[in-house]
Symmetry: C2
Subunit: 138 residues, 2 copies
């Protein structure tokens, strides 16, 4: 049972939305829309990709999910908003996505050249190679 109450968010609690939510709760890294569709199908629920996109859009608006496009990728990924500050490292070889322990921004106040800028958030991605792929590279 999900901790997120959709009706409380002012949106209807449909079978499709519950299913997408379930998939996102079970995912252990950000996934794209097509992957969500696959996992939804595996649960025996039939849905159209446009519905998936519409659900993801409204979830993003409501702050339930976080949408992101990784460096060098063409499609967006989605993950549940855990309301905790998280960054990822992505393997350039196998594309695996790993969570980073610490955030360097906590003790850092950046300045923008010659301009005032009001920072509301930031995105940090590390890239490189995971242990396995690094060994293969030699």
């Amino acid at each position: 049972m999900s901790k997120i109450n959709l009706s409380q968010q002012g949106i209807k609690n449909t079978k499709q939305r519950k299913c997408v939510l379930e998939v996102l709760e079970e995912a252990n890294s950000p996934i794209d829309a097509m992957e969500i569709l696959n996992r939804v199908n595996e649960k025996g629920v039939k849905m159209w990709i446009s519905t998936i996109y519409r659900i993801l859009e409204i979830f993003t608006e409501k702050g339930i999910v976080i949408k992101n496009t990784f460096f060098g990728e063409e499609k967006a990924t989605y993950e549940l908003n855990k309301h905790k500050h998280t960054h990822y490292a992505r393997c350039l070889s196998c594309k695996k996505i790993l969570e980073i322990d610490l955030c360097p921004m906590e003790s850092f106040i950046p300045t923008v050249k010659d301009e005032k800028f009001y920072i509301t958030g930031h995105r940090l991605e590390m890239y490189g190679y995971c242990d396995k792929c690094n060994k293969k590279r030699g």
Copy 2:
């Protein structure tokens, strides 16, 4: 006159490539393919968008340009690789892109949860509102 010698990079020195290079040299922030086409056209050079993409692809391969997709955007931007460590701040309202003075990563060694990970690079984006847009928001 450009400092970059295309023949030295093993690729032919065509009118089109020189023109794209010129546009990138004159740009003061990352721009997308269509914007490059516009600026090329303004210089009186006719080119197809597919040619722009092909040139950008080979420039990226050669390390002459850096391709990036900003948070929440659908299209990629391109900028000349200045071979210096740069990060940007992007205004969520007017989409202006500003350069950040410092890099917090310099004094930071991140660790990846339960895994070894060999970091070769990173990407950091700040987002928020520039002075002008912030005033409009009130």
